[in-house]
């Protein structure tokens, strides 16, 4: 039990680290597009790592000896991971395209941050 606790904690900590990096990037980067770089990528891996940690915890702590509907929870979490992998880049791309179409100018090196 201790081993699974350690592994799950590592997953959650890594996920939180990447989410935090995304937030710092959102605050530090100079313009709309580069901010999307930070959030679009860090969010994906951060969320996936957190859900993976929850999945492992459920698989080893709650699932043994439980009824079938409880045993299916890790499968649902797995579906969540797959959908995040599909939806997150698509949403990032959609926001990016909308900004580009409305004429938001990309920041160039040496300009003032916006």
């Amino acid at each position: 039990m201790v081993l699974i606790d350690v592994i799950v904690t590592l997953f959650l900590a890594a996920g939180i680290f990447f989410m935090l990096t995304g937030v710092i990037g959102l605050l530090r980067f100079p313009d709309f597009y580069t901010r999307l770089h930070a959030t679009g990528k860090c969010d994906t891996l951060g969320e996936v790592l957190i859900i993976a940690g929850l999945l492992l915890y459920h698989l080893f702590v709650y699932s043994p000896g439980a009824e079938l509907s409880v045993k299916l929870v890790p499968v649902k979490l797995l579906f969540l991971i797959i959908f995040i992998f599909l939806a997150n880049p698509t949403a990032t791309h959609a926001i990016m395209k909308a900004a580009y179409k409305t004429g938001v100018k990309p920041w160039k090196l040496g300009e003032e941050r916006r």
């Binding site: 679009g40 860090c42 509907s69 880049p89 090196l109």
Partner: protein, 166 residues
């Protein structure tokens, strides 16, 4: 394979996928829930099977197999991408130099284009802005990731290999 049996195959595959999904999500196996699942899956499969299965059955298996291998490589690229962004965010001088690049691909099918676009968005330092007739518009955060797409073309070649569209 003629067109008619191809259509039946498409409906069958869609129905099986939907029904499996229903069973996994509901987790209740009495007659009412399973019956409702069968009816719903059948209706949706009849209406929208052409969204999921477009082409005929041949080459589907080898393509799916290659796709799974590609996903493994892609997963590793995502981890690299996150470390790349984390480095750029946390570095005191913020080593970024954004630019917008444009390039052509030989890919034509929707699924291949979507795969490449999402892969570009998830891998280090690049986000897809727009696709028009196989022409990609990509925002890169620095010169190096842009060169990876323009010069090396590792990703384009991998995706083309998976979908057999050179």
């Amino acid at each position: 394979m003629n067109a008619k049996s191809g259509k039946g195959f498409g409906i069958l595959v869609t129905f099986c996928a939907l029904f499996l999904f229903w069973l996994l999500l509901s987790g209740i196996f009495d007659a009412l829930h399973v019956g409702a699942g069968i009816i719903c899956s059948a209706i949706i499969a009849l209406i929208s099977h052409d969204l999921l299965v477009k082409e005929k059955g041949d080459k589907m298996l080898s393509k799916s197999f290659k796709f799974v291998i590609y996903l493994g490589w892609e997963l590793w690229q995502i981890v690299l991408a996150n470390f790349d962004v984390a480095y750029r965010v946390l570095h005191p001088k913020m080593p970024i130099d954004p630019l917008i690049i444009e390039f052509d691909t030989s890919l034509r099918s929707d699924f291949a284009l979507v795969t490449l676009a999402n892969s570009i968005t998830l891998t280090p330092g690049t986000i897809t802005i727009d696709i028009k007739d196989g022409k990609f518009l990509v925002h890169a955060i620095a010169k190096k990731p842009a060169d990876a797409l323009l010069v090396d073309k590792t990703m384009q070649n991998k995706v083309a290999d998976v979908f057999m569209e050179w």
